[in-house]
Symmetry: C2
Subunit: 114 residues, 2 copies
């Protein structure tokens, strides 16, 4: 799958050809997870509306929920002002975090509300 | 300012010693911006409750709103499951984006809702 050249031209990638993707739950506004994409992962996400990322450690694409069943239906994708982060508005099936929590930010609070 | 060693031990930094920071507006849930931090930027943010980041291009710390007046009061900070992203829940004064929009994700929609 290839990415629309007009979109590809606006992306700013790191040295590994990657940029950040933030997945946010559409219904609740919860920030679920942050992962990496390359052009191909973004193209697949836009085409299939399934949250698709690139794993640096495994050096392969992964469709969120492919093994866990905790899929993401992607409603909307936005690129930020400097072109190095996309924001995905998703419907999250089950837990977004591989640890079983709803979001990847549930377990470790560094600073409590005041 | 130095970061609590117990927190520092849980961080996973990139080759440049940096990790991602996502700023989310507490009142609306809007994802405002994504920027970089190092240990010092996080320590300053935790200590002062002012969103403080590290600029790769300028190679210096910046306190959000220091020049624009568009400050961030940080209510809460959370670390994600793999330790490479922090989520800041903030009160955003004025526009979060340097372009003048409320968030950095307002201008460029790659995929519309369906």
């Amino acid at each position: 799958m290839s990415l629309d050249p007009a979109i590809a031209a606006r992306l700013k990638r790191n040295d590994a050809g990657l940029f950040s993707a933030v997945a946010q739950e559409r219904a609740t506004g919860a920030v679920l997870m942050v992962a990496w994409m390359d052009d191909e992962a973004l193209a697949r996400t836009l085409e299939t509306r399934k949250g698709t990322y690139y794993s640096r450690s495994r050096q392969q694409y992964w469709v969120k929920g492919e093994t866990s069943g905790h899929t993401q239906y992607v409603h909307e994708v936005r690129l930020d002002c400097d072109g190095d982060t996309v924001l995905l508005l998703v419907d999250q099936e089950g837990a977004a975090c591989h640890t079983g929590t709803h979001t990847c930010f549930d377990a470790d609070v560094l600073l409590v509300d005041s």
